[in-house]
Amino acid sequence: MSAPSGRQPTRRGALGMIVRIAGAVGLGAAVASIGRWAGGPAAASTTAQREVWQLDPHKCIQCGRCATACVLTPSAVKCVHAYAMCGYCELCTGYFPPDPYDLTTAAENQLCPTGAIQRSYIEDPYYEYIIDEKLCIGCGKCVKGCAAFGNGSLFMQVRHDLCLNCNQCAIAAACPAGAYRRVSAAHPYLLKDRSENAKESPQ
């Protein structure tokens, strides 16, 4: 913005403008230096420096708030499957409720309220369980079942193709276990893998 049109620029106007420009530059420098103060870069510009929300599956207590607290409906948190950890059991406690009527894929036998887990026969005695994320609402019921009696291969993750990366994750604020934290956008997932169980395996 130059001096208002139709008026000669005055000394006072020029001084004011210098003060304003100095103020704007100073403000910018101050905010950028706050970034440095925080021990990080002045401002995180690259993917490696940016942060996104994620939940630590080892702290998760499957309370069900991921489904209800997210600003998105359905939630951006979904159940994901670490296939390498799965036992491929016929009686999957993540798929079937504690005492199923029958070990079939009929709706009354499923733990998942939306039928988001697809159960398919591979070879005797193995069955594979695949999550259909379009149906998953992130309620964590299957995760609870799998953690209680299975290998813990089902776990919850914030899916970043859906997550809005809110300033303050509403689920993080509601999580009783403090499982949510900001992680680097370069490594936005905290996945479970077989190694953590294999090293403690009683074999």
Partner: protein, 426 residues
């Protein structure tokens, strides 16, 4: 030995269960490839750039419409577009209003500052330094949603308006304190319109938003005036602005139409300073200047008293208190949070140490916040003693939200010419 084997096996299985270890070894398939777990990438930097670009363009247009085109209609159209893009489409996050907290958290040493946040936080402030609150006029979705429902704005008595305008100071201070300690993002948590932008959210927040809109039909922009922490920062920046909203294009004729048109009471009337004898004014000023350090000290003391209460904003402090209460038998039962903490097998001492550190932070922060509030009240009293001589109606740089209603009502210029020609003044 034979009998001990099952026992050993059972112990091993139980230990394994406790560690979440493999109970069922993964199968070795004859011919089946394991599916892979997908990991979709987060939103790219490009999306951030698009948002920054949109914000910059909207701010430039707002400044243009307020100061150059001087058109209320153009400002309304921009406000509707901004509400659509920044509100409904973008989901209202990230916004400059909330970015205050990211900056505060970085100041407290608890987060990195993304470029997006820095730019979004700075742009409206820098624009305000030069041309006033263009952001409030037609960019901010919270302002736009309120501005569009103003039907019959009542004038709020100046004593009430002046008192309520102290609230944003408290809100800003609290929000900065909560964010700097990494405890909560209060502005986001209690953003009354976020639920309406996203068509989802806690019922209480949605009801609060609808109530504010209902009140907003007769009390214009209540959130902007009496709550918005960023609006307060913008008002500080606008005091330096070169341009204020110029109501009369030429000489003001003191017709008072703009004063009636202004929905937020931001128009200063001629000689709005109280006409008191000079010596009396001086006495009042001296008294308030003496009172100022007293108010600051009282505020700091009050803040210190409030520190333990404010510390409960933090989940760690709350959890530590809960565990204390459970240990002493004061708590009726356990909470999910305390059960989860016990399941982690982390020593309670660890948590208590964290909580103590946070309480220290809150003690310092609350004391500063109290002193800041004392300074605010004192500053207001000092400013009440200031004598002004004004001969025309002018928009107050700090309070004017640049909505442009007064421009429409001012009879000087085009409107007056039309009246003289016998046409209807618009």
């Amino acid at each position: 030995m034979k009998r001990s084997l099952p026992t050993i096996a059972l112990v091993l299985v139980l230990t394994a269960a406790a560690l979440g270890a493999e109970r069922f070894p993964p199968p070795e398939f004859t011919n089946h490839v394991l599916p892979t777990t997908t990991t979709p990438a987060p939103r790219s930097v490009v999306a951030d750039m698009v948002y920054i670009g949109a914000l910059a363009v909207a701010l430039a247009l707002a400044a243009l419409f307020v100061h150059v085109l001087r058109s209320r209609v153009a400002i309304v159209v921009l406000a509707i577009v901004s509400l659509g893009y920044f509100g409904w489409f973008y989901g209202g996050c990230l916004c400059p209003v909330g970015a205050v907290q990211n900056v505060a958290q970085a100041l407290g040493g608890g987060a990195v500052l993304p470029v997006l946040v820095v730019v979004v936080f700075l742009l409206p402030l820098i624009v305000a330094i030069f041309v006033g609150r263009a952001f409030c006029a037609g960019v901010c979705p919270l302002g736009a949603i309120q501005d569009l429902v103003v039907i019959h704005p009542l004038r709020v008595p100046s004593w009430l308006d002046g008192s309520l305008r102290l609230l944003p100071y408290a809100y800003l201070g609290l929000a900065v304190l909560a964010a700097a300690t990494g405890s909560a993002y209060l502005i986001c948590e209690y953003d009354p319109f976020l639920g309406l932008f996203r068509l989802a959210g806690p019922l209480t927040i949605v009801i609060a938003g609808l109530s504010l809109l209902a009140i907003g039909t007769i009390i214009a922009r209540p959130y902007c005036r009496w709550l918005c922490p960023y609006g307060l920062m913008l008002s500080w920046a606008s005091r330096f602005s070169q341009r204020r909203v110029k109501i009369a294009p030429t000489q003001c004729v003191n017709c008072r139409l703009c004063e009636d048109a202004c929905p937020v009471g931001a128009i200063q009337t001629p000689n709005s300073g109280r006409p008191v004898p000079r010596h009396q004014g001086r006495g009042a000023l001296a008294a308030t200047l003496v009172l100022l350090p007293v108010l600051v000290a009282a505020g700091a003391w009050g803040g210190k008293l409030l520190a333990p209460t404010l510390a409960r904003l933090d989940a760690t402090v709350r959890l530590a208190e809960q565990l204390d209460a459970e240990a002493s038998g004061a708590a009726a039962g356990t909470t999910e949070a305390s059960d989860a903490f016990r399941a982690t097998a982390r020593p309670v001492k660890d948590l208590q140490k964290d909580a103590a550190a946070l309480r220290e932070k809150f003690l310092l922060g609350s004391t500063l916040l109290g002193a800041f509030m004392g300074l605010t009240v004192g500053g207001k009293l000092v400013s009440l003693c200031r004598r002004t001589t004004r001969t025309t109606y002018e928009a107050d740089k700090a309070l004017c939200l640049a909505c442009g209603r007064c421009l429409k009502y001012c009879p000087v210029g085009r409107g007056a010419a039309e009246t003289a020609l016998g046409g209807a003044a618009t």
